[in-house]
Symmetry: C6
Subunit: 275 residues, 6 copies
């Protein structure tokens, strides 16, 4: 059995994941407002496009036009790829209302109908041959009905993983809330990456931690990161520690850093099977 | 792609925002009672008027007459601008009842009807050519129905941002509550500015922090501010730190201050696009 | 525009308010059981009577007869003023049942009917020419229906402020609870004064803090106060600080004290208007 | 106006109350399980009987026969007083079911019917000429319907205070819970005495604190107490302080102790009235 | 009036209770999972059987066959006593379904019917002449309907105490939860014994504390205990203290220990009555 | 009475359990996301297969095909055992939908129907002669209906324990939540093993603690563990302690370690019975 590693394209992140996200994993990207979840998932898709891997972005929070504008601000102009049929935005935001919306190809008329959403996603995957997907955000799908959260995530997981995609589900949590989006969601995901924005001693600090990732060893540390004009940069060689209400950023030992750098080269895992 | 910076007009605030609010952003201005949210948003509109930019104020908490009286106390007499058609108060407070209310032009008969509210707002924007808006407060719209919060904010965002305005949505939270107004609201906004009033060691301290602001770098620090007879003054060159239950106000390094002062001059951002 | 200052008559309080409560303000007086809220509001009315200013007391917690008895214990016998038509108790307690209740003039048959309550209050204001009002307590009006809290306070605010009165709304919170009575109420009030009774190191301490007061600068400190045989005395020249679970009462610097003493003389504010 | 002091008969307690409970006050006696609330209220009634003051005990938690047995264990045999018509137990426990219950005179058939309860209480007061009452516990009356708590307490207060009795309402709170029984109840009472049983450093400590008492000055300190074979003894000359998770019992200064001892002699207060 | 002491038979426990549980007391035995509640109550019944006192075990959590097996693991084979008619298990677990269940004599067909349960308990008491009872657990009876908790406990108390039994009601609380099972239950019991299992510094510690016990003085300390192959052993001569997140077990002073040892001999209390 | 010990096969775990899980015990394996619950339960079943003990895996969270894939990644290829009829996956995930699902033998059409689930489990046990079972996860069965949690666990316990199996019920709790899955579930289980993943000082630590295990002595300490390419390894000779927000891993004394190592050899317990 061979499992390929999907490179995130976020500088420093593949080191933290010891080679990237194992193929077909559904990763919950959880964080409060302003933590950079959308940027991370756009960067993941953009990197795929640069490597020739098609991708889809399921927009539940923002107008497709605005998403493309936001990406341009980071230097990621997806429109040429869209034209080539390598990229598609599934519009689960406008409900098909408005001038620009009418020009969109993958429109979910009623985003509260998860079955319908799944059908449009399938269509977009088939058309583009997508290998990567980002859903921004899954929380929107069950914000007012938390009781269906697990079932929604399960349905998405079945289609995305089933069709061979590696995907990121953005999970919005309240600022200061420590969980990842509720028990039904946290346990259903193959991986959890948590983005944090916290105030210590009058200053805001960005950091992330990989809480779980099925099928790979990963860094067990909290790493600082920045949001730059060209997207996120994760400092895989640094750790953020909090002591007495103050934050400290420390350099990791050379040996640890080297191990991550070496592991980041990994492209696949081979598992022996009986027979 | 060019995105203009909208100056807040609050002394010190544009330094903190490295040039002002990116145009079309919908900013959540969140804080407890007595933190200065209304004053901030009135100051934002007043500054626009001084610069020749029309604006509208959506009044959900206070009688339009009282709002104008409050503004006069800070030296901001909007009535001449109202007469010139550069400024309008959308009255979603009186329901059209009362003598003075009858003289108001933009009256929302039933403020619980968000569709109706949006229509009146659109009309006021069209008439005034508004470039700035303040809604005081959005919380009122979903205080008794938190389940509709995200949808209300989304509807407002679509019309305000869609019509090219830069806007401030006042979000009321309880004293001592640390969030910004709930997950649906926090994630929907393009920016979050948090105003705080906290007691440390028997004294009240005012401070603000920019939690997120799409499309711009911003200060990642908690800055002290004052409410004076002429509105808010933010100390962009100072940071408020809390240690052992006591607050300390420290001067920031000269280099950091200079960087903010220089950035405050910024008037627009230009992004390259493919093609 | 001229706004008069209404003296509270509570020794030390007008210093803290830099001259008294700005006229027409609706002030939330919030505190747990035993903090002195009723006494404060009765003292406020009594002082008005001594200055020739009529007032009304809206009784929701206590029998009108008992309220007058309680006031006598502090040396405040309102009965002569009642006879002169300068003072009235609006009885929203007895529902008109009982011998003494039958003799009351301003009886609210059904206190759960806010519209009815407002009508009786209006009548009492008209008859007495009241300039001051105290409602003890507003919490009772929405204790079992928190969802209507904001709307109740809004209705009261409209009539009290609209008719030119300066008023105190008593807000009951649970002991140890830190808020002021819920978001809908806290943000609707023009001012918030919080009375506290806290145990530190085996002893009970009384203190108050002005959290907000529209239209005036005020002390930003926590001041200790006492309840004496003649009502409250606030130590505007002292601050209560808590460190390591113990309370300390410190003298404020002479300069700060003098500023408050000077400001306490203020009788009105004049604001310039355009035109 | 003359207000008599009602002696509690609990050694040390009248010192803490600077002379006893002001007549007609309705006192909330609040505490967790095992804190001694029932014993305190029985001791209060027993002392009255020794002074020739009739009293009633409203039993909601325990069989009247068991209550008399419990009292005998402290040396308080109320049966002779019952025969003389000076003491009565209002049985709101058995519902009139059982052999011994049939012999009870004041039986409340349906304790969930507060109106009925009040009627039986009135009858018992009339027959005995009671000056003291204890209701053990009021919490039972609204345990499953917290929304009616305030209204229940109000009804009891009206009849007890109205008929001239001084009374104790036992309020059961959960162990570790810090409040007194909810906002509706806490604010309705004329006084609050809190009994505590807390674990510090592996040992249980008993202490009480008077949180409020209308019409009298009272100790503002937390006093240790014991439950002995003859009831409670309160150490009015000692204070319980907690520092770093450990409890310390300290002697109060002689001056403070003397003031309380002197005040404990007080038998009534006289208030001057206008006219 | 004479009240006999019922020995628990748990080594060290009668010392802590200064002679044992006063006869007819209904004792709440409260604790989280794995704290030893069932073992304690089985040991209490087994000891009774050794002294010639019949007893009943009301099984709500476990199959009667399994309960007997569990007891054998501690060396307590109740089957001979069952045959002699001195011991009975009231089966409120199986609902009478299954082969072995059909052989049970005291089966409660519908355990949600508390009236039915009480009838079967009465029958078992009558047949065996039981002096001791254990109900494992009462929590099960109101797990899904907390609102009936107090009423359930009251019904059980009436029949158990009324028929002269001394009984233990097992109360299940969540791990880490500090209460004893809710206000209705805590106040209804004559005694509360709390069993704890807590982690300090990476190790689990067992301890118990007697929170209240009507009719007797008891240790006011937290004592460590062990669960051995022969049941619980309580270290009445030791106290468990927690400081800075670490647990310490300290020896008690000789005098204190001797007092408990002497008191443990007590067999009854005699109270004088008037007449 | 003889009770056999069932070896977990997780290196270090049988030392911690002083010989393994007592036969027929139903063990709750509780933990947050990413703690290794599924791996632990798969390792438990795989070890059984190596020892010639058949087993079943009840899949509620993951597709049977995916589960087998996941197990191969640890070197556990169950397919040959499946063919031999020694292993079966009960598919309570797909609802029988999909190509591969049609080939599954033990399919639960409606996983919300617990009666149906129990029937299929019984059939799989009968066919395979299973001695071990893992249910991953029970939480799924009552995620949206917590009120039925205890009843679900009771039904499973009856059939699994009744048919002689030793089983692991995976209980999903939220990250940071400290309990084990709610009172109804925690008390119903014969054993509780808690897996933890916690952040201390910027690093993630894995540890487990056995909270209870009916019928055996067990380590009362928190042990660190790792998840390796070949499953879990528990460091029974080490303890994880947390002091001042930092984690420390300490070696246990030689004597303690030797006792566990010796106990790990235990294969059964023999209990004497009367008669």
């Amino acid at each position: 059995m061979i499992i390929r590693r999907v490179k995130t394209g976020v500088p420093g992140m593949d080191e933290i994941l010891y080679g990237g996200i194992p193929e077909r994993n559904v990763v919950l990207l959880s964080g409060g407002p302003g933590t950079g979840k959308s940027i991370f998932s756009q960067q993941f898709l953009w990197y795929g496009l640069q490597q020739g891997e098609p991708g889809i972005y399921v927009a539940l929070e923002e107008h497709p036009v605005q998403i493309k504008r936001n990406m341009i601000q980071f230097g990621w102009d997806v429109r040429p790829y869209e034209k080539k049929g390598m990229f598609a935005i599934v519009d689960a935001f406008t409900g098909g209302i408005g001038e620009t919306a009418k020009r969109e190809k993958y429109v979910v008329r009623d985003p509260t109908d998860v079955g319908l959403l799944v059908d449009v996603i399938k269509e977009a995957i088939r058309d583009t041959g997508a290998k990567r997907a980002a859903i921004d955000s899954v929380s929107t799908l069950y914000l007012t009905k938390p009781v269906i959260a697990r079932s929604v995530v399960m349905q998405l997981k079945r289609v995305l993983s089933g069709l061979g995609l590696t995907s990121i589900l953005v999970s919005q949590v309240s600022a200061q809330e420590r969980g990842f989006g509720g028990p039904g969601v946290e346990h259903a995901a193959d991986g959890i990456i948590r983005l944090d924005l916290d105030e210590y001693d009058g200053e805001l600090y960005r950091s992330l931690i990989v809480w779980k990732m099925r099928g790979t060893k990963h860094s067990m540390r909290r790493h600082p990161f920045d949001i730059t004009d060209h997207g996120l940069i994760v400092y895989y060689n640094k750790v953020l520690r909090v002591r007495g209400g103050r934050a400290f950023i420390e350099q990791l030992p050379e040996k640890v850093v080297e191990e991550m750098e070496k592991a980041a080269q990994k492209v696949e895992d081979v598992y022996e099977e009986a027979e």
